[in-house]
Subunit: 364 residues, 2 copies
């Protein structure tokens, strides 16, 4: 069992979900609400969470304001005092949103980073995150990104949103299908890559990012080709956790571009995978040393080529066009990407015109 | 400026001590007590801490129960509500001890890990750590090791003892003399080496440990040979911080052996340096892969040889004999080392007989 304490307390091992009842007791949570999605329900994982006071099972693919409010009603009706998020990034972010609104007056848009004057976020209802993908890193992240009713994204960011405890149980990912394993694995990889070369100074985070990339590079193909490989599942869950731990160093253009694309209902991890090669080449002169170090860590000559090859090997889409994006969408997407706060820490400054070129290249 | 959040919030930059007043305000501390030592006073660094309600300037080389109690009196007499530790590991640990006793009934021995049934440690008075050496890592550590009146060490260990905030200002180390720079630098290096191969599973800590070793390996000699080299001072302070961040992965035989030796009044970092080669060779078969990785990271063939060479280059003692230890001391020291909780995570199990052999080798 690995107990890791970096901002969060993480219990990491096969079968760790068995610790959940005691963990909830330790956190003083007596009436927990489960937050999960239909895929997790269908995979038969819900019963492993044990007894819950209430449950919200309908988390959508990307968390929405409506879903948060619906879950909040269930939370209040149940007299709940804490949340267990069992699922991917969407369930985890949704639980953070519920925890926030359960303890603060206001609506989600009041707390987002792009609000005119974002409201302060204080302590929220306790959230225990139990990821079932590997993964978004949301289990250790400070952010909850919720699509508001008007279509805009409210990115709520605060150390207060970090789940109080995390259970990383690779057992829960054994049944994750190859396509999802690939997509969420590429999400983890993108976190390590982006944070390693981001402009903020944070050597511990950079060290973890390097390990994340090396680990995902070594194990992702195996996890996709043989989902029953327990070692591969353990390794990818660790890589995903590490990717999440690097967020504080800042991400970059891949995430700045994939955020607005998320509003199209497209999968975040898949988008990151598809955008990576174009961004890596755009950044190349501004992050040469970093990319070389990462390439070496995965046994490759060129990082962009390697990622492209990996996408092909994992049978991911060849471009945004294949995912349903049209040329006419690009200018608006590019403008949103340039305005995304994550663009600020990209190693190379990127304008809307730059993003349009990147997106065009990534159309495939 | 690097703001790093891993259990603690760390503000890392030249001049960062200027943030102290605002940091104290943020933490709700209005009547801070300064904890420091005569060396820091002599170096003229105290005034940089700004206005303090009270001050304890007499922290000894290794923190003692008497010193904690004396400082506690000053704290109470001043009606203080928080502490600023400006100094090395001793000042930082002493401040933790004061914060503990200021908020808990009982005496230090009640809280130590070796107590029959250690009392629980809850929230303590806020401590801001401002290291002036590079360093012990105590600024991010969960432990406060205090020598009790009867000579035993009370190792108080709890996440509650982690300073609420840390200011890492390399400016404060510019005047650190070469001998101290070498000794505290070797302490930082020993943390990275020991945690990298310790038996606990914690990949993020291991990643940070690797970076710590590479960084200290690259910059310690420079920092010792030219103390005015700002880059070298920044790098060594970062290496020391990283070393402290790895503690949660567990240390090993070097620290298990240096702990009882600390009761002789000998410098902790110097002891670690002197003990390292013998321990590295004792562990060699049980940590071959890890040591190879570290050796590669510092550009060496053999890690033990490299450390020995480094000690010589830095003009550190050639052995324990030179530091005043006698052969007749060894059996008792060895027994204490084998019983030290840090021995549990050494990559190779070590008995009292093993420690006696290690210590004998390290006599020099």
């Amino acid at each position: 069992m690995a107990t890791i304490r970096y901002l969060s307390r993480i219990e990491f091992e096969f079968g760790a979900i068995g610790l959940l009842p005691d963990l909830l007791t330790e956190l003083g949570v007596e009436q927990p609400m489960l937050v999960t999605d239909p895929g997790v329900v269908a995979a038969g994982l819900v019963e492993r969470a044990g007894t819950m006071r209430a449950a919200f099972l309908e988390t959508p693919g990307n968390p929405t304001e409506d879903a948060v409010l619906a879950a909040l009603e269930v939370y209040r009706a149940g007299g709940c005092d804490g949340l267990v998020a069992l699922g991917g990034g969407s369930s985890i972010d949704l639980a953070k949103g519920v925890g926030l609104l359960a303890s603060h007056a206001g609506s989600l848009s009041d707390f987002g980073v792009l609000a005119v004057s974002p409201k302060a976020i204080g302590p929220i209802a306790p959230v225990v995150a139990v990821p079932t993908t590997a993964g978004t890193g949301a289990e250790v992240g400070r952010a909850a990104s919720i699509t508001l009713r008007d279509g805009r994204k409210a990115a709520c960011v605060s150390p207060m949103l970090i789940p109080k405890a995390v259970i990383c149980d690779p057992e829960l990912t054994l049944s994750l299908p190859p396509r999802m394993t690939a997509a969420t694995g590429m999400d983890a990889l993108s976190h390590g890559i982006e944070s390693f070369v981001s402009t903020r100074v944070n050597p511990p985070a950079a060290a973890i990012a390097l390990d994340c990339v090396a680990r995902a590079g070594a194990w992702l193909v195996r996890a996709v080709e043989d989902g029953a490989d327990r070692e591969a599942r353990w390794q990818m869950m660790m890589a995903a956790l590490e990717g999440g731990m690097t967020f504080q160093k800042g991400l970059g253009a891949v995430h700045a571009a994939s955020h607005p694309l998320g509003a199209f209902g497209l999968h975040h991890g898949t988008l990151n995978a598809v955008l990576l090669p174009a961004v890596l080449r755009f950044n190349a002169d501004h992050a040469a040393e970093g990319y070389d170090r990462l390439a070496k860590a995965v046994g490759a000559d060129d990082l962009a080529d390697w990622v492209e090859g990996l996408n092909r090997r994992l049978d991911l889409p060849t471009g945004l066009r294949e995912m349903g994006v049209a040329e006419t969408d690009l200018p608006a997407l590019a403008a949103d990407a340039a305005a995304d706060h994550l663009s600020e820490t990209n190693p190379r400054p990127a304008t809307a015109a730059d993003y349009e070129a990147i997106l065009r290249t990534a159309m495939g």
